[in-house]
Each structure stands twice: as structure tokens, then as C-alpha cells.
């Protein structure tokens, strides 16, 4: 029964990560799958769906097409739609059926690009990984394919926000607060990958002095930007009073020195016996560090999602399954997690519900707090 979830739901899938990351960029995203897949995304994982038009489509894959490997129909359908809608780009990704039959999305995208003249790329999603894997691949591709090389550096100190999607930040004003926080700390914003910025703004990302990576899904794109433009990155979300100040200093220092770093992972204590923060590693790590600084409590991260060694601190742990979560919760001094984790938290261990859109979707959307720059004491008390 290893990794069998009896109580907990799963996080949003990689296909949702792709759609969410590309949603505002004016491209056309096609999920190659049977009908219904798009509805999962739009109903549960996309809070912008009814307020903001975007070209997200499903191919309507049939059993016969899957068995026959009829890629040409998909290519023709996409090409027809692209000619009609004139998207800025076409992204093609897949769900479990194309993964099983080995659909080659990069080859399909190349054929679409050749037929339509519209830039196209394939993403190797399978519906079997979390939203972070899809977001990561999508944003990395955007950074590689659309960020221009002939962009002059900005005169004033500037940054890009990398790895922002509603799946981690919802639509509760957190991303806008991070933008304000950047401005308050003397940073101009070149672009945000990928909320609130157009593809043209993102194309100028190479002109920024530093990149602020706000989720593990943004790390690969930040690395691509470092490789292409030499821009350093700093991983962290400005939550908590003291940590947001410290993060601003780290960001300034990285812009000057050119050295990348992950202040969200620079923590003293692990999860054992202290406060355990569950979730995406950059946000959870930032919250744990903020708890250390604002509350003076040891805190660590329990990570149920894909992450990278540089985003984790000693004592942090992966919790790939429900049993791992329950076991770790029992040893923690308190747990900060999405409310849907509450049933696996033992009685007697204080539980602080912090809804995460990628986990509980719209269930608690209205109560997702905006913690940017705020002292954690007040929130924990509440």
C-alpha cells in the first residue's frame, strides 16, 4: 500500500502547470488527451478561467487515434486552429494516454511550426507528475525561446519574478504585493513569469539585474536566464516581516555580486520537533525561515512535490505519500499545511491551515491569506 492515498487528494498535474504558466502569454496551449481533461484544469486549477480569455484546448483524442498513432490529425487540427486564431505561439503537451503510446510532442510541434510559421514547442507532460514539473518545463522553454538577446540592461536596479502562477499564489493579490515589495525596495520590475506580464515584456527579461525565483517551478527558467544572460537568481518569497527584509538585502547583494542563492533554504533547524511547513519548497522554505525569524521557533519543510537540493535545508524531508506525512506530522511541534492535510495530523499537534490552490483548488480560495511582508505572529495567532 506504499504511496496509496486514502485521505489526501493529489496535487494539480503537470498539464495544469503548463496551462497555468502559459495562460497569460497569448499563446495556444493544446493538451493531447480525451475530452474532459480540460475541464479538470479549468474547474479545479484555473481561477482566471472566467475572467481572462486564454487559448487552452484539448485535442479530444479517441481510442482509435491513440492505437493508430494518428499524429497527423492532431497536427492538422492545431494548424487549422492556429491559422484561425493567430496565437503568439503553440504549446503541445500530453496526458497519460499519449505518454503510454510514446507521442513525440517535440516532433509534432516542429511539424506545426513548419506548417503555420507560428513558433511551436512540445512539452513532455504525462499527467503523472505535479504541476511544478509542467510549469518548470513551460517557463524554461519560454526563457529559452522568447527572451531576446539584444536587450540592454536597465539603468535602475531591476528584477524579474520567476515562477509565479495562481497554483501557488492564487489570485488573492500576493503577486501584486510582491511587485509592490520589489518597488518599495528599489527594484524596477522587468517582467513576471508568468502573471501580469505580456510575452513582449517577458522577451525583455534579459535586461534585469537579478531574478527572484518564487517557486520551484521557476528554478529551471532562472537557470536558463542565468545561462543566457548571466543574470543571478535568488530563491525566496518575501513572507514574514523579518524574512522579507532579509530577502530584499539578498536580492540587492546578488544583483551586485552576480552570485545566485536560496535564502529560503538557509535555515537552522529541520522539521523534527519544530514547526513543519508543508508544500512547494520555495514558498514553504520561506515561510519556515520567516517563522524562525518572526516567532523564534525552529521550523522546517515537509515537501510532497518535486524540488531541487539547493532549495532544501538540512532536516527538511520529502513526504511523497500519506503515510510519510502522518509519520512526520506526529514528530512535529506544529504543522502548517493545506486544510485538507488536517485529517492526517494527529490530535495534539497544533495544525495551522494554509490553503494551497494546487492542492485544494477552489475549496478554500476565499480564505487564502496574503502573507507578503506580514509578520507571521498575527496570522498564526488567528
Amino acid at each position: 500500500m506504499k504511496r496509496c492515498a486514502r485521505i489526501l487528494p493529489v496535487y494539480a498535474a503537470d498539464t495544469s502547470g503548463v496551462c497555468s504558466a502559459l495562460y497569460e502569454l497569448g499563446g495556444m496551449t493544446v493538451i493531447h488527451d480525451a475530452s474532459g481533461c480540460n475541464s479538470t484544469y479549468t474547474t479545479h486549477d484555473e481561477p482566471r478561467w472566467y475572467d481572462f480569455d486564454s487559448m487552452v484546448y484539448i485535442s479530444g483524442l479517441t481510442e482509435t487515434e491513440a492505437v493508430m498513432g494518428d499524429d497527423q490529425k492532431l497536427i492538422d487540427d492545431i494548424a487549422d486552429a492556429a491559422r484561425e486564431l493567430s496565437p503568439r505561439f503553440v504549446a503541445v503537451c500530453g496526458a497519460p494516454i499519449p505518454m503510454m503510446v510514446g507521442t513525440d510532442f517535440e516532433a509534432i510541434a516542429a511539424a506545426v511550426e513548419e506548417e503555420t510559421g507560428t513558433p511551436a514547442f512540445g512539452l513532455n507532460t504525462s499527467g503523472m507528475r505535479s504541476y511544478l514539473a509542467g510549469e518548470s518545463e513551460a517557463l524554461e522553454t519560454v526563457a529559452e525561446k522568447f527572451c531576446r538577446t539584444n536587450v540592454p540592461g536597465t539603468k535602475e536596479l531591476s528584477a524579474n519574478l520567476v515562477g509565479a502562477t495562481p497554483l501557488d499564489f492564487s489570485v488573492n493579490g500576493s503577486v501584486e504585493s510582491i511587485r509592490r515589495w520589489l518597488a518599495d525596495n528599489g527594484f524596477g520590475l522587468v517582467s513576471c513569469l508568468a502573471m501580469g506580464s505580456s510575452l513582449d515584456e517577458i522577451a525583455r527579461a534579459g535586461g534585469a539585474h537579478v531574478n527572484l525565483v518564487v517557486s520551484a517551478g521557476g528554478l529551471a527558467a532562472a537557470k536558463a536566464l542565468r545561462k543566457r544572460f548571466g543574470t543571478p537568481y535568488v530563491a525566496g518569497v518575501p513572507v514574514g516581516a523579518a524574512f522579507s527584509k532579509l530577502l530584499a538585502e539578498e536580492l540587492r547583494s546578488a544583483a551586485e555580486s552576480g552570485k545566485s542563492g536560496a535564502p529560503c533554504a538557509r535555515r537552522k533547524n529541520g522539521a523534527r520537533g519544530g514547526l513543519a511547513v508543508v508544500g512547494e519548497s520555495v514558498f514553504a522554505g520561506s515561510l519556515a525561515r520567516a517563522a524562525e525569524l518572526d516567532l523564534g521557533e525552529p521550523a522546517g519543510v515537509l515537501c510532497p512535490l518535486e524540488t531541487a537540493p539547493e532549495l532544501t535545508a538540512p532536516g527538511d524531508a520529502m513526504i511523497p505519500g500519506e503515510e510519510d506525512a502522518a509519520e512526520r506530522f506526529a514528530r512535529a511541534g506544529g504543522v502548517v499545511a493545506d486544510p485538507l492535510y488536517r485529517p492526517v495530523c494527529p490530535d495534539g499537534v497544533p495544525f495551522y491551515g494554509l490553503p494551497h490552490e494546487a492542492f485544494s483548488g477552489r475549496c478554500f480560495r476565499k480564505s487564502i491569506p496574503n502573507l507578503i511582508g506580514k509578520n507571521l505572529k498575527r496570522w498564526m495567532k488567528r
Binding site: G69, M100, G102, E106, A107
Partner: protein, 254 residues
């Protein structure tokens, strides 16, 4: 880097040709990787003195997790050829084609090519291009050229034609192209004539003519390729000639 996929009818001698070619490349000082893409997982056995490397699929089945280090699923054989086998699912279950794709993704995660930096990569593929998984070795980023092994037998030539057609169908996708035909003789009547006629029709060169040889069988009984067993034999020289041709240092015999 030379990246070759070897296709051909089941039982035609693909593994024999691939292993001997790997041994010849290695003897010429090249750093070689051979990846067997067949559930039988016996492609590299004659490079490993009759021993076997743990196939990737077997590893996943046994340990219920992905390998963390290349050494867990790769073994060095004759001439330091790095031997890897995809293996396959439990016979009668699962999807062997998907197994190849999973193995390739895993090898990418383990940064096989970046860390090993080979001069030559050989993919020894099961029989025909029957589904997406078995076309994986000819996708962009893997093999750039295909060798088709055939004898003069009717069904071997039929399979060779199918393989060539499949490869051509992928031309607009940037997949591998057919480099040529390896005639692996079975000594059937009019063999050379039949194979050369096919080659002409397909517009392909015959890049090697491997005679039926008791020496190959004798060496394989000892767990060796004939190139390792006795590199001076005429049949071994044919493999060296093919390796040199592919390295751009020789001429096709067609």
C-alpha cells in the same frame, strides 16, 4: 559523435552485428555505449563474457524505484564498451515499447551522455518499428542513422523494407535516416543478388557483407564477439571495415 540504431527482422543477427561493431569501434580506440532495446535483454551478452547487466526494467521491477547511479544499470565490457539493456515488462504484460521510452528518459536523468561523453552510441532494437516505443531510438537526440540488417531470405527482406518505409515516414520530423544495409548472410540461393536488388530499389548502399561464419558461433559460445575472439579473422575484418566506414575512414562495399 556517431549514433546508430540497428534494426532488422527478429533473429537476423542484429545483436551479433551490433556487438561486433561495438567491439570493432572500441578496438579502434573509440569510447562506445551499446544500448540493447529488446525485452530479451541479450544484446550485450557477448561483450560481457557471457555475463549480463541488470536490465533497467528488471531493476525497476525488483527495487520499485529508479536507479540513482548509472553503475546500477550499466556494466563495462570488452574494450570498455558501456553495456545497457532496457529489458522489458513481465512477458505477456505491460508495454515493452513504453519500457524503451522510460529507459531513455531515465538515462537522460542520469546524464549518461554528458558524463560518459561517448564517441559512438549503438542502439540494438527489437525487430521491426512496431510502435512509438520502438521508434524512440531514431527520434531527434538519439540515433541519427539507421543500419538495417538483412539476409536474402524473403521475410528478412520484407521486414527490411518495412523498416526503411517507417524511417522514411519520419523524415519530416527530423528523425534518423537510413545509412545503409548490412547483409548478414544465411547462404540462401541468390542471396547477394536479392539483397542488392532491394538496396537499389530503396536507394541505399550495402555497407557491409558479413559471411556466414562458424567462427562467430564458436566465439559466442565462449561469450565473446568474434572481433574480441580473433580480430585477425576475415569475418572480424569485415566488422572493422564497417566501423571504419562509419567513422568516415573507409568505403562501402556496394
Amino acid at each position: 559523435m556517431i549514433k546508430l540504431a540497428v534494426y532488422g527482422k527478429g533473429g537476423i543477427g542484429k545483436s551479433t552485428v551490433t556487438s561486433n561493431l561495438a567491439a570493432a569501434f572500441a578496438s579502434l580506440g573509440k569510447k562506445v555505449i551499446q544500448i540493447g532495446c529488446d525485452p530479451k535483454a541479450d544484446s550485450t551478452i557477448n561483450l560481457l563474457s557471457g555475463n549480463r547487466v541488470t536490465p533497467v526494467m528488471n531493476y525497476l521491477r525488483e527495487f520499485d524505484r529508479e536507479p540513482r547511479r548509472l553503475e546500477e544499470i550499466a556494466k563495462e565490457g570488452f574494450g570498455h564498451v558501456l553495456c545497457i539493456e532496457t529489458g522489458g515488462p513481465t512477458p505477456g504484460l505491460g508495454c515493452a515499447g513504453r519500457g524503451i521510452l522510460t529507459t531513455f528518459a531515465l538515462l537522460e536523468d542520469l546524464r549518461l551522455f554528458e558524463t560518459r561523453r561517448p564517441d559512438v552510441v549503438l542502439y540494438d532494437v527489437l525487430g521491426d518499428v512496431v510502435c512509438g516505443g520502438f521508434a524512440a531510438p531514431i527520434r531527434e537526440g538519439y540515433a541519427s542513422e539507421v543500419l538495417i540488417v538483412t539476409s536474402g531470405e524473403k521475410m528478412a527482406l520484407y521486414a527490411a523494407e518495412n523498416i526503411n518505409t517507417a524511417v522514411r515516414n519520419f523524415a519530416d520530423r527530423g528523425y534518423a535516416k537510413t545509412r545503409g544495409i548490412v547483409l548478414n548472410r544465411r547462404d540462401v540461393e541468390g542471396e547477394e543478388e536479392k539483397v542488392r536488388a532491394f538496396a537499389r530499389r530503396a536507394g541505399l548502399p550495402v555497407v557491409a557483407d558479413i559471411p556466414r561464419s562458424a567462427d562467430i558461433i564458436r566465439c559466442e559460445d565462449l561469450g565473446k564477439t568474434v572481433v574480441e575472439g580473433d580480430p585477425s579473422l576475415p569475418v572480424s575484418r569485415r566488422f572493422f571495415a564497417l566501423a571504419e566506414l562509419l567513422l568516415g575512414e573507409g568505403e562501402a562495399d556496394a
